[in-house]
């Protein structure tokens, strides 16, 4: 397999040519992709907040933010600035340490999960062998933070919201993991890079969504539940619980929750794009394009264009899923807590188990098509 552009190797090599030792060169390199990813994730949040407001407006036949920057693109920035300048209050009877720690524990794992999101063959912060599993493990840390903030707020609504969030996360983690497991079974690897590579070669036809349609639906439903998006936004159901675990929060601490929820949404969309929609792959195989253009697959220009196209493709796929999430928000009503748990335990769990078993059987029966 052709390695393509490897910025890390080139960067380290050039520093070593300048006389730096190998370790130092790597240390200089390491913060760069991390910073880039944090900035990218934050900008992604701004974009999705803007999309949320614009698409919501369009669905309701409104205009939405219009005068804060062209087409209102600065609206989320204004929101953020407002939250930064707001007074940061801690309720008198709350536990100040846990109250502060809660939002931090919610946000950090979500940002950490960006570690394993690939935008290209080498465009990834680090290619962990455990890949998707890291993401699943990190996402189970989030409910602890939610529970902590709900409990520390010393408010009945916050406590109920926190408890609901924990219950919801636990019941949807399992179908999510089982759906991922079916994918892992087919690609023989937990690494996100390997999962995308296994889908490449046949363009749109090779994507996992065709081999795992049920898994795709399960995964997206479970991911929406993990993000607490509308059909499953019980933890912050404003009609019942004021704002759930966020009730007592204001200023920067609330901003962290807000940021965390949108980062999580974009992250889930990115994971769906990587696991089911072929990640950075184009709908037409790259080899075919190279053939049409009459250049080799290792052509420098083709690789640069391909890398930027890959990033675009990943983001396009992810934002298409964000769009469906927003559309779904204005289409379906919120489920009741018992319906939520029913859906998680009595529907998604058995179906994802069956899906896993069928995938395993198919893998034995047709090793060619299902990654033997």
């Amino acid at each position: 397999m052709d390695q393509g552009i490897d910025l890390q190797q080139t960067f380290i090599q050039s520093l070593m040519d300048l006389g730096l030792p190998a370790g130092a060169a790597k240390t200089v390199w390491m913060p760069l992709p991390m910073l880039l990813m944090i900035i990218g994730a934050t900008v992604g949040v701004l974009v999705s907040v803007w999309l949320e407001r614009k698409i919501s407006a369009a669905v309701q036949q409104r205009v939405g933010p219009e005068f804060i920057g062209p087409l209102g693109v600065l609206a989320p920035v204004a929101d953020g600035l407002k939250l930064i300048f707001k007074e940061d209050t801690v309720p008198a009877k709350a536990d100040p340490l846990l109250f502060t720690l809660g939002p931090v524990i919610v946000v950090i794992p979500v940002f950490l999960s960006y570690l394993i999101v690939p935008f290209g063959q080498n465009l990834i912060v680090t290619n962990v062998g455990m890949g998707v599993f890291v993401w699943i493990a990190l996402s189970s840390v989030v409910p602890i933070g939610l529970l902590m903030s709900g409990y520390a707020s010393n408010n009945k609504y916050a406590l109920l919201g926190g408890l609901r969030a924990a219950a919801q996360s636990i019941s949807y983690e399992i179908p999510l993991a089982l759906a991922v497991m079916a994918i892992v079974l087919m690609s023989n690897s937990l690494s996100t890079i390997d999962i995308v590579n296994q889908q490449s070669g046949y363009g749109i036809l090779g994507w996992n969504i065709w081999r795992q349609p049920i898994g795709f639906v399960i995964f997206w439903i479970a991911a929406l539940a993990e993000c607490e998006r509308i059909p499953f936004d019980l933890p912050e159901a404003e009609e019942e619980l004021v704002a759930g675990y966020q009730t007592e929060y204001s200023g920067m601490k609330f901003a962290l929750f807000y940021l965390g929820s949108y980062v999580n949404l974009v992250l889930s969309a990115l994971m769906v794009a990587v696991l089911y929609l072929g990640g950075w792959e184009l709908p037409i195989p790259t080899a075919l394009i190279a053939n049409w253009l009459g250049v080799g697959e290792t052509n420098a220009w083709l690789e640069i264009v391909g890398a930027s196209l890959g990033i675009t493709m990943t983001l396009l796929k992810a934002y298409f899923l964000v769009f469906t999430a927003i559309l779904l928000r204005w289409t379906v009503p919120r489920v009741r807590i018992d319906q939520l748990l029913d859906l998680g335990w009595k529907f998604l769990l058995p179906i994802s188990l069956v899906n896993l078993l069928v995938t395993a059987a198919l893998k034995i029966a047709f090793p060619g098509a299902f990654g033997g």
Binding site: A58, V59, Q61, V63, L327, T331, V332
Partner: protein, 202 residues
């Protein structure tokens, strides 16, 4: 075994149906995205108030006979009528008249009962001020006529839903001579008159 299979089949059918309904719902919301916003973009677009709109009250000082009927019919006795008896003319002489629009509920009773028609409702509704006492209009302020929306070059005046031609939902880009649905007031009046004349002839 068969019963179990039937249960599974029913369950699957229900699931498919639920998915179908969600799909239909998504189609509806998706379709709404391509429609033009129905909102009135307020400072740039304004609705033309209807002819029976109950806005700020207009007062004609010279017509007023200081009878204080407006005060008596007002639910909270709001209008302040300051008059003095003029012995020379043997008439009440009005010196000040004021209505506080911060308290007024725009019920229109005063307009309804004024014997000399010196009170009337205008189409002005933009009464925002920084100090609530500014809403206490004296006779000079009450005598001002509001600016018409249709005359304002900064504003796109839009017709209200009821004043659109039949079947038209969109107030934008309407030809100026487009007739509203149904009969116009003067036509109804003419019809009534014709009927009266016909009855009298009988």
């Amino acid at each position: 075994m068969l019963k179990f299979l039937k249960q599974v089949g029913d369950y699957a059918k229900e699931t498919v149906q639920a998915a179908k309904y969600i799909g239909q719902g998504l189609a509806v919301t998706f379709d709404h995205m391509r429609r033009r916003p129905v909102t009135v973009q307020y400072p740039y677009e304004k609705l033309i108030p209807s002819e029976r709109f109950r806005g700020r009250i207009h007062f004609e000082f010279d017509k007023c006979i200081s009878c204080e009927v407006c005060v008596r019919v007002c639910p909270i006795n709001l209008p302040v009528v300051d008059w003095e008896f003029n012995p020379a003319t043997k008439k009440k002489q009005l010196s000040h008249y004021s209505i506080d629009f911060g308290v007024c509920i725009f019920c229109g009773n005063c307009v309804e009962y004024c014997p000399t028609n010196c009170l009337s409702m205008t189409e002005e509704y933009e009464l925002a001020v920084y100090d609530r006492h500014e809403l206490n209009y004296d006779s000079v302020a009450l005598g001002r006529l509001p600016y018409k929306v249709t005359d304002d070059p900064m504003v796109t005046a839009l017709r209200e839903f009821l004043y659109l031609p039949e079947g038209v939902m969109e107030p934008h880009n309407l030809p100026t001579n487009a007739r509203r649905a149904g009969q116009r007031p003067e036509e109804i009046l003419a019809q009534d008159l014709a009927q009266q004349v016909a009855q009298e002839e009988k």
